[in-house]
């Protein structure tokens, strides 16, 4: 428990060129947390974005207060997701960590309710179950997504329906333990976290999420991603 006995949620937002989206995500998060009465902080980890992301983060810090918005930048270029999380966690003062994309792909929803329901160590968003889903995806993208997920389920039997989503809630100690163990890069890293979590016996709850395709900015998903996904999947298959 965090100081004072109440739960506190630290949201880690790794950003690269999210100048348009960042204020909106922060506003949505702040509103969600305020409405649910939970204590929170938002940690923005920016990888030297050239579009002024840091400048807008500083403005947000002034508006919301520096106990709520924490700006931490990294001087390296093209850091991996893992590095961003490690860096962010060092400054996190909450007992729960929320990880999400800063690109408005994830419709902000109430994970903590689910967590409380089952006292889960991890709560993961899924696009594939319940009323979870996507918006703005063409047939080809849906097919690739379902196909990739099917192969993943067959090979890894992970016990979670959506491994490549990146909207998750972790207990802080659980995330720290997993960060030590996980070695992959990119979003294979997200998959590895769930697989390792299962192996370590952590409980995982799932919440349906709506993945609304990027409203602003450019998607960082390219053709190479499929190849690197398969390589990563096979690596996980052989090593976990």
């Amino acid at each position: 428990m965090a100081a004072g006995g109440a739960d506190k949620f630290s949201v880690l937002l790794p950003t690269y060129n999210e100048r348009e989206n960042l204020p909106l995500v922060v506003w949505l998060l702040a509103r969600t947390f305020r409405e649910s009465g939970n204590n929170f902080e938002i940690i923005i980890i920016d990888d030297g974005s050239p579009d002024g992301t840091q400048e807008i983060a500083e403005q947000l810090e002034k508006i919301y207060g520096s106990d709520k918005i924490v700006m931490r930048d990294i001087i390296s270029v093209l850091f991996s997701l893992g590095t961003a999380y490690i860096h962010g966690m060092k400054h996190a003062t909450g007992n729960f960590i929320v990880i999400m994309d800063a690109d408005l792909s994830h419709h902000v929803s109430l994970y903590f309710i689910k967590q409380k329901e089952g006292n889960f160590d991890i709560v993961s968003g899924t696009r594939y179950k319940g009323n979870g889903g996507v918006y703005g995806w063409d047939l080809k993208r849906k097919l690739i997504s379902r196909g990739a997920n099917f192969i993943t389920q067959v090979l890894l039997r992970p016990g979670a329906s959506d491994l490549t989503g990146s909207f998750r809630l972790y207990r802080k100690e659980v995330l720290q333990k997993l960060m030590e163990k996980c070695v992959s890069k990119g979003y294979v890293f997200q998959m590895e976290m769930i697989v390792r979590a299962r192996q370590l016996g952590y409980t995982i709850g799932e919440v349906p999420i709506s993945f609304v395709d990027r409203v602003y900015g450019e998607s960082k998903l390219g053709g190479n991603e499929i190849v690197s996904f398969l390589k990563g999947l096979l690596t996980l298959f052989a090593t976990t």
């Binding site: 348009e20 204020p23 909106l24 506003w27 949505l28 807008i56 403005q59 947000l60 002034k62 508006i63 408005l104 419709h107 696009r127 594939y128 009323n131 979870g132 889903g133 996507v134 918006y135 703005g136 995806w137 047939l139 849906k142 097919l143 997504s145 379902r146 196909g147 997920n149 099917f150 067959v154 090979l155 890894l156 039997r157 709506s210 993945f211 609304v212 409203v215 996980l236 298959f237 052989a238 090593t239 976990t240």
Partner: protein, 92 residues
């Protein structure tokens, strides 16, 4: 054991059982009808798995939810956010 290890063990087990029965020398063979079913079994299973995969992925593709409401709601939130933040002094 890794997943790969599990698969290899499983395949080795099933493979050797199949080979022992299906490719046995004349003295140890199971009766002819059984052998006829047994010999092509690996191929049958592969094809069956292939069909299952296609059917499953097809079904999941067809039932993949489109979140119209969520998208509309998000647009509303974005407008509200921009208005509110502008009021609070954010220069976009």
């Amino acid at each position: 054991m890794t997943k790969l290890g599990q698969w290899l063990c499983g395949l080795a087990l099933l493979g050797s059982a199949w080979a022992a029965l299906a490719l046995a020398p004349p003295g140890l063979r199971p009766p002819a009808p059984y052998r006829q079913a047994l010999l092509p079994l690996p191929v049958y299973l592969l094809v069956a798995f292939g069909c299952y995969s296609l059917a499953t992925v097809g079904y999941r593709l067809a039932t993949f939810n489109d979140c119209e409401e969520a998208a509309a709601e998000l647009q509303e939130h974005i407008s509200a956010a921009r208005a509110d933040l502008r009021r609070r002094g954010l220069r976009f």
